[in-house]
């Protein structure tokens, strides 16, 4: 469908394309910076002018994963020589890795990362499965005050998290859910559920009800029709919703900050807490950030078509 265009318009088009490419590069530069800083030697992380080209190294990641302490005196060359390469890197940086007996002591990062994974995955599974069946219910059955109920469902998402966090904190302390995985899973589920219902309702509405009706007429019960026909059709929608819920739960900060301390603390409140003392080691922060952003970036790419649809879906439908 190429409309006949004048050369002036074609030139303008070319200018637009070039500028969007440039803007994209500018937009991505912060990500480039955090990505490269994650591989920089500490000495190059804060140079003037900023260092762009360098020999990448994985020392920041070693630091990220281990517990270390500042060296206050010169280290023993014999110990240095006997140390594995990654420990030498740490020595080179003026620190030493803590050990419990002979074992290297790891930092809390892996644990926090794992917490994030557990909480995000479980809450996503619950939110999406509940959201899917509820969306199906709303999509297929009439209900008195349906519009109001749907608005109610959506409105719970509009609440500022801090507003809910205060009473939740008080309630949780009564039942002992503060700083537990379950506590955070429930919160994220509640937060994502409304979104999941809304998004899935859109997808469900798009699945022609004729499919299930055909199955009903063909001698299947409504539930069988739902599992055999509707669910397979809704798979892309479910995937998109799941990714969204996962990303939201994965990235959430405010609740995690207020409701967790140790056991269930997730990565978002943890990573900034690693800004450390004395002098910030930005390479460690960057490597922690890098690892943390990686899954989302991969997700975004792998599922970009669904994401685009998901983001705009609710908005367009309303």
């Amino acid at each position: 469908m190429a409309v006949v265009t004048s050369s002036r318009k074609k030139a303008f088009n070319r200018v637009a394309i070039v500028s969007i490419l440039l803007i994209t590069l500018i937009f991505l530069s912060p990500l480039y910076w955090i990505g490269t800083t994650a591989f920089k030697p500490r000495s190059l992380a804060t140079t003037v002018p900023p260092t762009v080209l360098f020999q990448p190294e994985i020392t920041p990641f070693i630091k990220l994963l281990t517990k270390r302490v500042q060296l206050t005196k010169a280290y023993d060359p014999a110990i240095y020589a006997a140390s594995p390469w990654y420990e030498q890197r740490i020595y080179d940086g003026g620190e030493r890795i803590l050990r419990v007996g002979p074992n290297i002591q790891l930092s809390q990062y892996p644990n926090r990362f794992m917490n994030s994974l557990i909480i995000a995955i479980i809450s996503t599974i619950i939110a999406v499965s509940m959201g899917t069946i509820t969306a199906y219910g709303f999509s297929r059955f009439k209900m008195a005050g349906e519009a109001d109920l749907l608005f109610f469902v959506l409105s719970t998402r509009m609440l500022p998290p801090i507003v809910v966090a205060i009473p939740m904190y008080l309630m949780y302390r009564v039942v002992g859910l503060n700083d537990t995985h379950i506590g955070l899973i429930i919160l994220y589920t509640a937060f994502n559920l409304s979104f999941s219902v809304w998004l899935m309702k859109g997808f469900m509405d798009e699945i022609p009800k004729e499919y299930e009706e055909a199955a009903l007429v063909d001698g299947y019960t409504r539930l069988q029709a739902f599992f055999k026909i509707v669910l397979p059709e809704a798979v892309t929608g479910i995937a998109a919703t799941a990714v969204f819920c996962f990303i939201t739960a994965w990235n959430e900060y405010a609740f995690a900050l207020m409701m967790t301390n140790r056991r269930a603390q997730t990565a978002p409140p943890f990573i900034p807490s690693q800004i450390g003392s004395g002098l910030t080691d930005w390479t460690v922060i960057a490597s922690g950030t890098f690892l943390f952003l990686l899954p989302v970036a991969i997700f975004t790419f792998a599922l970009r078509k669904h994401l685009l649809r998901g983001v705009t879906f609710g908005a367009i439908r309303k």
Binding site: M1, A2, V3, V4, T5, S6
Partner: protein, 372 residues
């Protein structure tokens, strides 16, 4: 008011042709319909004329001037889109006024022109409404109004009735034709509906798979189809098509549809038109009204059974079983009483078309019904 000439137009998408070597001249004030199934290239052709589509080679001339480098707005043609393409946020008035305002005409002149067009289309009372508040036919009228208000050299219409229901389409057909008579603007009209094409066109250009099949008056394409495609595309119910062979038999030719079926009688002249090869491998086409049916045994008629009857009110369509072949006939309402009934049938030689089986082209044999 303009003459449009398409000369060797070609357009392809990758290796696939959308339009192939298309040559067509649309005369001043003529109403030409581009007819064909979806994907035949008719819309692309129309859009190429409008400047909404580039062509890969060939010339488009409007009033003798090549226009293919001109943007749509500079060609001075109007276009009516299939889904009307009314601006949804503007009222009918603003829609019609849009092309005038876009070129900064004075307010008074815009007002006068819009009112005049609205009056001729009898939509004055709708001018304040938005498209969403209009019925299909009214949207159609507004879209035409927007096209007419500029007094363009030519009107191009892309299935403008595709979105209307059957009854309304019938009405709009008449209106559109009257409008053309009054405005005398050169019009190119695209449709896949042969009834529309037949009823509206001065000339019909039938396209298939990017290739122009036949250009002619409605009578031409109905009664003298250039090939099997045209023959089957025009007319409803569809023309009966069957493989046949012809044998000389004394003073007559005998035409059999398949082996073992009772042959139909044809004038002797038929066999003379045919080479031996053709006589044994021929495709005949006959419209249902060309299949003559008799309730009683009649000379020159062969016995057949009624396989299916479709009563359409004014007339019936009866599927007759001729050997293994089904042939549809058009009879008076209730003429064949019931399915399974035995009747007699004959093919009217004057209405029988003969096609080359391989090329599907018409053999251009015209017979007169000399027998009876």
């Amino acid at each position: 008011m303009a003459e449009i000439i398409l000369r060797d137009i070609e357009k392809y998408f990758g290796a696939v042709y959308v339009i192939r070597k298309l040559n067509l001249t649309i005369k001043h004030r003529e109403f030409v319909v581009l007819l064909g199934p979806s994907g035949c290239g008719k819309t692309t052709t129309l859009r190429a004329v409008a400047g909404l589509e580039d062509v890969d080679s060939g010339d488009i001339l409007i009033d003798g001037k090549p226009v293919q480098q001109l943007e749509a707005g500079d060609r001075d043609i109007a276009f009516v889109f299939q889904l009307f393409a009314l601006y949804p946020h503007l009222t009918a008035y603003e829609n019609i006024a849009f092309p005038l305002r876009a070129t900064s005409e004075s307010k008074a002149s815009v007002e006068a022109k819009v009112r005049a067009v609205a009056k001729s289309l009898q939509i004055e009372h709708l001018l304040g409404k938005r498209p969403s508040a209009l019925a299909g036919g009214d949207m159609q009228r507004v879209a035409i109004g927007r096209a007419l208000v500029r007094r363009p050299k030519a009107m191009l219409m892309d299935e403008p009735m595709g979105a209307l229901d059957a009854k309304l389409r019938e009405e709009m057909r008449t209106e559109l034709k009257r409008l053309h008579l009054e405005n005398e603007s050169t019009t190119v009209y695209v449709t896949h509906d042969q009834v529309e094409a037949m009823s509206l066109a001065d000339r019909i250009a039938i396209m298939n798979e990017g290739v122009l099949q036949q250009v002619g008056t409605p009578d031409d394409v109905y009664h003298r189809p250039a090939n099997l495609f045209v023959a089957q595309f025009v007319g409803s119910p569809v023309m009966n098509i069957a493989a046949a062979n012809v044998k000389a038999d004394g003073s007559r030719s005998l035409l059999a549809l398949g082996k073992g079926a009772a042959p139909f009688e044809f004038p002797k002249s038929l066999i003379r038109h045919l080479s031996d090869a053709k006589a044994n491998d021929l495709t005949v086409g006959i419209r249902p009204e060309g299949v003559l049916v008799s309730q009683t045994e009649t000379a020159g008629y062969v016995p057949v059974t009624a396989h299916l009857i479709e009563p359409l009110g004014a007339y019936d369509i009866v599927d007759l079983k001729v050997g293994a072949q089904l042939v549809r006939a058009r009879t008076a309402s209730g003429y064949v009483s019931k399915v399974g009934a035995r009747v007699w049938a004959r093919l009217d030689p004057a209405q029988t078309h003969f096609f080359d089986t391989r090329t599907t082209d018409s053999l251009r044999i015209r017979l007169v019904d000399g027998a009876h």
